[in-house]
Amino acid sequence: MSLLDVRDLTVRFSTKKGPVLAVDGLSYHLEPGEIVSLVGESGCGKSVGIMSLLGLQGPQAEISGSARFDDQELLGASERKLRLVRGKQVACVFQDPMSSLNPVVTVGKQVAEVLRRHRGLSAAKARLRVIDLFERVGIPAPAQRYASYPHEMSGGMRQRVMIAMAIACEPRLLIADEPTTALDVTIQAGILELLKELRDGTGMAVLLVTHDLGVVADIADRVIVMYAGRKVEEAEVRALFNDPQHQYTRRLLEAIPQRGGGRDRRLHGIPGTVPTLRDSPDACTFSERCAIASERCHTARPGFAEAGPGQAVSCWHPGAQTAPAVKGAVR
């Protein structure tokens, strides 16, 4: 049985300009101890998709489908039920550690709060445990840092605080939404390394959300590529890098910045922008930007089909080679 089994997740927003289909029939699963990466350009529905799982999406979102965590349905579950899952069994790390931490509460207290809530620890016991956690996530002088405020720490240290908070109750799943995007390139590798270490040490699964395939190569086991609210390709990380099937995956690989390159990791390589879906169209959503799109791509929607062992793709012309060649093969 999978740890997390998401089926047909669909998230719609009613806006003044009409309905927006942020996530469209997304299905995936996560096994215990696995690191799965959800990759796609900004605005393709990654955050909306994962926030919906824990009921963190505002009431404007219209959510359908199913998300079973440990055989417990999360979508549509009561707040009371969700509160027992949040922070305890499924924990989150968000993109911007500055805004994600409360500016007027010490970082130690913010982490201790989770332990007091879910483990019922006394303030003194929670404090000792937090200092342990700080040490574990690589925060120097953890006892002194307990009483620091977020603005007194660097971005990397703040993200380590967020991670300490997330692993405090030994969750079975850690959801990290662009955990390194707001950080300096030099800090990013350390945070990713820490996530991997924690997975190896505790056996928790990690759902790593990122727009940068470069982040994925070193730590993910499996990759799910999303485009405009849909899954377009899924593969083991090695297969994905060595033999990408979808044209969009290819473009993402080409867009990986070279090692030591600047801090801007935005995708330069793909012309055009992610369309905002109003409705499920009768076409491949990528056809407008695809270099090899045929007549059929514009008139019919490709299904999701097996393309190799552990690899599947939603494309009418899977694996087709186009110039330029793929640069970012896995080492």
Partner: protein, 317 residues
């Protein structure tokens, strides 16, 4: 450092205020000597009064003498009562201070509570009711509210005294009952302002990332609202309270007039209507000082509530 700089600029502000008041008072129509001696007073008596209070000297000399006096803590002698101005003011200030403190406490308690309720109940009947209540509280002038309060609670249902003031050492119970209506009247508009600010700050705080983090931790709704959203909103509320203290003093003038309370506000009006120059000067000087000190204290309170402000004021981690 920042605090010292602010204190310095406060002093300069104060000096300017003194000069403006000094000149402004002398621009008022009416002769204080005439007010004292009476319209039909004989010229010799007028002259004697003018000499006694230095009103016959050139205005620059009067100003320098006045500054000298202030520095030594001497605010002059009230023309009308013959008592030292400092003594008259010192007698009135505690009364107003007590009224203000009670009014603020009532206003903060009501304003913050209803503000949170309004924010959490947005789009629901509760939120709407509280907002309309605040709008009414804001739009009713203090004097009208005061008269209505007297009419209802002192005349129609006589449970509270209509007006007056009883010192605490004379009768503590009567002291409190005499304060209830004026404090409620004075605090009502203030409560409405605090409610609106709290509501706005809460609505903003509830959409922040750190509140999302708090929810993602599995905290209860109450913990999320009180420990995370409200804690941050209070920074805004504290500032508003500080900035509105001036308005509160203005409100005290009216309230004390309506309820016949011998406080600072009533003293101010009495001083102006009787052309008591030294008293007017003293009253305005004290008001300006209070205003400046309150602003400094607000700054201090702000840095207590918001740790990010501490670095700017020179402290460090």
């Amino acid at each position: 450092m920042r605090f010292l700089a602010r204190a310095g600029s406060a002093l300069i502000t104060l000096l300017i205020a003194v000069a403006v008041v000094f000149l402004g008072v002398r621009a008022l129509p009416g002769d204080p000597a005439v007010a004292l001696v009476g319209q039909e007073g004989d010229p010799a008596a007028l002259e004697a009064v003018r000499q006694q209070y230095g009103l016959d000297l050139p205005i620059t000399v009067q100003f320098v003498k006045y500054l000298e006096q202030i520095v030594t803590g001497n605010l002059g002698t009230s023309v009308r009562t013959g008592m030292p101005v400092s003594e008259v003011i010192a007698g009135a200030i505690p009364v107003t201070l007590e009224l203000a403190v009670v009014a603020i406490s009532v206003a903060v308690a009501i304003g913050v509570t209803t503000g949170v309720i309004a924010a959490l109940g947005r789009g629901k009947a509760t939120g709407w009711l509280v907002s309309v209540g605040a709008l009414i509280g804001l739009s009713i002038p203090a004097f009208w509210l005061g008269i209505m309060a007297i009419l209802v609670f002192a005349i129609m249902i006589p449970i509270l005294p209509a007006s007056g003031f009883v010192p605490i050492d004379v009768d503590p119970v009567a002291h409190v009952t005499h304060l209830v209506l004026p404090a409620l009247v004075l605090g009502s508009a203030f409560a409405a302002v605090i409610m609106r600010q709290t509501r706005a700050a809460m609505l903003e705080a509830l959409t922040t990332d750190y509140v999302r983090t708090a929810i993602a931790k599995g905290l209860s709704r109450r913990q999320v609202v009180v420990k995370h959203a409200l804690r941050n909103s209070l920074v805004v509320v504290a500032t508003v309270v500080g900035l509105q203290l001036g308005t509160l003093i203005a409100g005290a003038v009216v309230t004390e007039q309506v309820f016949v309370i011998p406080g600072f506000g009533k003293l101010m009006i009495d001083a102006v209507t009787t052309r008591d120059y030294p008293l007017i000067q003293g009253v305005v000087l004290i008001t300006a000082t209070a205003y400046i000190v309150i602003n400094l204290l607000t700054d201090l309170l702000y840095s207590l509530l918001d740790p990010r402000m501490r670095i700017m004021s020179g402290g460090s981690a």
